[in-house]
Symmetry: C2
Subunit: 139 residues, 2 copies
């Protein structure tokens, strides 16, 4: 369902590490070690809001949100998942999937704008990317 | 798809006005005139996260998110829609659907925890509830 003329927003490119491509979404890891935080971006140009997807697209996006949520739950055993499409700063439709702990820096508030991101160290990042790729591989 | 033993969280009851019941979700209006803000709550007991829904349920929830988003867009012509399941304070699964403007009090940040809610005046509330009920009626 992707299209050849899709380009990832430059701010998303800068703030994230690519993990994998699912059937409709690119999966990115937010470069912020404060929270296990994935971002899904449907590979469709000129999208801003979820209600611009057709039924097949939105059901597939929902299936991929489900897959990503379950992967983070399995890997991180969080207290709660946050799933959100805000897009007030980066307009391109992207969905945050964030594993939250009652002990994390922003709890119980939302994570956005709370603290400057703390980048992963190189070795930890490599290991995490590998784990996430494995967890997100559809059998 | 609803079940008889579902009870709406008391904090959601306190903070919102009931609008209507769709096939799977109750639709509530947040009692905060700062933002056009609906909350969808699937009528299923003991839910916390979106990934606890089965495929049919989550596709239906997505269809109702779509309906609610389009209703707010039609009525309010916002600059952006925010759609989010956070649930860090109220654990019962509920999905925020918020019409945002570049001129609103919290822009470009998220709305949660930004300003104390400003309740609607009675007459304005009645008119808005009526408009929302009409917009959310599935033909």
């Amino acid at each position: 369902m992707s299209t050849p003329d899709f380009t990832l927003d430059p701010r998303l490119v800068k703030d994230t590490v690519p993990i994998t491509s699912l059937k409709i979404c690119q999966v990115l890891l937010m470069q912020d070690s404060s929270y296990p935080w994935l971002i899904l971006v449907p590979n469709i140009p000129d999208l801003r809001d979820i209600d611009e997807l057709n039924t097949a697209q939105r059901n597939q996006v929902m299936a991929e949100i489900d897959l990503a949520s379950k992967a983070l739950k399995t890997l991180f055993a969080p207290d709660k998942m946050n799933v959100a499409n805000l897009g007030n700063i980066v307009e391109q439709l992207h969905i945050h999937i964030i594993a939250r702990y009652k002990t994390d820096l922003a709890w119980p508030g939302p994570v956005w704008g709370k603290r400057p991101p703390v980048a992963y160290e190189a070795q930890a990042l490599d290991a995490l990317v590998e784990k996430l790729r494995t967890a997100l591989t559809i059998a």
